[in-house]
């Protein structure tokens, strides 16, 4: 039971951290895509959506090549900060963050697009500078949509498997999440253990999706 609890809290913690990490850039990019036209916008849109469409294992491989000891980012991080990513809990956070990012950006973008630009213009005419408008008008009016996006990103992070297994491996007590745990237990023929983890996954996913739906419905009311 102790192992099950450890896996559950590890998964929740990693998913939470991953979601928090992508929150600022996700909101910024969502706003940028919703409110501004700039050259190369379509390219960035496509690039951000990539993890949604290519196999998660492929994304994991790309991350492995980038953050591995001999990869450009991995080498740099180890030399300058002494930080090792691959096959540690940090790799799990990285994988979930990258996989959840497109979902957050898309929901954030829709949330911002639904705000009538008239409100932002009105705030400008009342003397509010762009940052001020964002904090006092755009963000509060988009809150529900953004929260729903966070829950969605969080739920996606909870279930991440393919990219995680590539870049973090399955190291007991260090990188095993619920999804990885289920796979491992089944491989080892321990079905009862697998079913326990499965039950927890279902409950967490159910709670997250229910919360997200509730937030979204409240918004369109």
């Amino acid at each position: 039971m102790g192992e099950v609890l450890q896996i559950t809290f590890f998964t929740l913690g990693v998913a939470l951290l991953g979601t928090l990490l992508i929150l600022p850039p996700g909101i910024a990019l969502g706003w940028w895509l919703a409110r501004r036209d700039w050259p190369g916008k379509a390219v960035v849109e496509t690039f951000v959506a990539l993890p949604l469409v290519i196999p998660p294992v492929a994304t994991g491989l790309i991350l492995l090549k980038l953050f591995g000891r001999r990869g450009p980012f991995g080498y740099f991080l180890e030399r300058t900060l002494g930080v090792e990513i691959v096959f540690t809990w940090k790799a799990v956070v990285l994988a979930t963050a990258v996989m959840s990012f497109p979902l957050l950006v898309r929901t954030a973008r829709v949330a911002f697009e639904e705000i009538n630009p008239r409100f932002e213009e009105a705030a400008c005419t009342l003397g509010a500078a762009p940052w001020d408008v964002f904090w006092t008008i755009t963000l509060p009016l988009g809150t529900r949509g953004l929260l729903a996006g966070c829950v969605l990103a969080f739920a996606r992070a909870l279930g991440e498997f393919g990219a995680t297994v590539m870049i973090a491996g399955m190291i007991p007590g260090q990188t095993i999440t619920l999804a990885l745990g289920i796979y491992q237990e089944v491989q080892l023929g321990r079905d009862t253990e697998a079913l326990k983890l499965l039950a927890i996954s279902v409950v967490l996913a159910f709670a997250a999706v229910w919360l997200s739906e509730r937030l979204l419905r409240g918004r369109t009311k």
Partner: protein, 372 residues
């Protein structure tokens, strides 16, 4: 290019308070404006949909940028692309009221009103309590915008714009989304503001009744160009108005209430050079009222008509005769003892009566509309 000068109130030779030069050709939509607007009073930008009114207003606010434009307000250059100057909207001391309600839905009415007041250092042109009183939003302060009626929302929006301490107030068809009853609820507030405010107001509208009630100056826009502009009464009395305005040609005269005649439900209005009797409920003597005499409601006779049902007969002299564009009618400009009048009569009548500048006639005024 039309250069319109509306600076009459400030006297000649002075720099006009607001100078605008916007030229734009956006795939068939052309805007070509060169305007000088008065430093106080209401200037109406009037014209049919698609004439460029809203674009002009948004460009003044800086919400839209007309490349190569020039805009100066109270000696502050807000835009001069030839010198690379473009002041962003939030640094322009203006107030803007949108056609649709633009109250922030997540803030109470009070927070909405305070939004601009807290962001600009400039003192508002009227103080908070007085303004709340003026637009009668006191009881609404703690409510949420979505619980307000359309009329209440626009009143709050107007108050919010004024509390930001604007030195120029821009109104983009603030009544267009309201029904008749709501309009009648707001117009009196706008009139009171008009009387009390010292700042210039640019009022975009395509509704004639609003314009003649509120405006002091009139800019007629058609297809992105200035068709006519000047003080309201003079502009509406012009004989060369484009077709779409010809029906509205006429005069707005400000008069003082003379004797009331409750028996017949009439009130006498005195104006320089004469007086008219109009159907109106009894009014306090001496109150100033605006009334409109449309050209199509004025006819002329060579001799004073006797035994006629028309109450208002005014001796006048013909100043000019112009063919109205489009055929059978002509517009005749009259001078009734100093007050201008315009009559719209058929070309046949003009030829029969041999009307020419200098002819002495009697103007018969069939209808007078009291505006405010």
């Amino acid at each position: 290019m039309t250069s319109a000068d509306l600076t009459g109130v400030d006297g000649p030779g002075q720099t006009p308070p607001i100078r605008i030069r916007f030229r734009l050709d956006r795939g068939g939509f052309v805007l070509d404006l060169d305007l000088a607007l008065a430093g106080r009073g209401v200037t109406a930008l009037f014209g049919p949909s698609g004439a460029g009114k809203t674009t002009c207003l948004r460009a003044i606010a800086g919400l839209e940028r007309v490349p190569g434009g020039f805009l100066e307000v109270n000696r502050e250059v807000w835009q001069d692309d030839s010198r690379g100057i473009f002041r962003p909207t939030h640094r322009r001391a203006l107030g803007y009221v949108f056609q649709e309600a633009s109250l922030f839905p997540h803030l109470s009415v009070r927070k909405n009103l305070e939004y601009g007041r807290r962001r600009r250092a400039v003192a508002p042109p009227v103080d908070f309590d007085h303004l709340i009183d003026l637009v009668a939003v006191g009881p609404l302060l703690e409510r949420r915008p979505e619980t307000l009626s359309g009329g209440e929302r626009q009143r709050v929006a107007i108050a919010r714009a004024l509390l930001a301490g604007p030195r120029l107030l821009l109104l983009d068809e603030p009544l267009a989304s309201l029904d008749r009853a709501r309009k009648d609820e707001i117009l009196p507030f706008l009139e009171r503001l008009h009387r009390e405010l010292e700042i210039p107001v640019v009022y975009v509208s395509h509704a004639v009744d609003e314009v003649v009630r509120l405006a002091d100056h009139l800019v007629l826009l058609a297809e992105g160009r200035v068709a006519a502009s000047g003080p309201l009464t003079e502009t509406l009395a012009r004989l060369d108005l484009p077709e779409e305005f010809a029906d509205e040609a006429g005069l707005v005269i400000e008069g003082t209430v003379g004797a009331s005649d409750p028996t017949y439900g009439l009130v006498r209005l005195d104006f320089p050079g004469g007086s008219v009797q109009v159907v109106h409920s009894a009014e306090a003597t001496g109150r100033r009222l605006r009334f409109q005499v449309k050209a199509r409601d004025v006819s002329v006779a060579l001799e004073k008509p006797r035994d006629t049902s028309i109450l208002n007969l005014v001796p006048a002299r013909v100043v000019a005769v112009a063919e109205a564009k489009g055929g059978a009618h002509v517009l005749v400009r009259l001078d009734a003892g100093g007050t201008p009048l315009v009559a719209r009569i058929t070309r046949l009548s003009r030829d029969r009566l041999k009307l020419a500048p200098g002819s002495e006639v009697w103007a018969q005024i069939k209808a007078v509309a009291v505006l405010a």
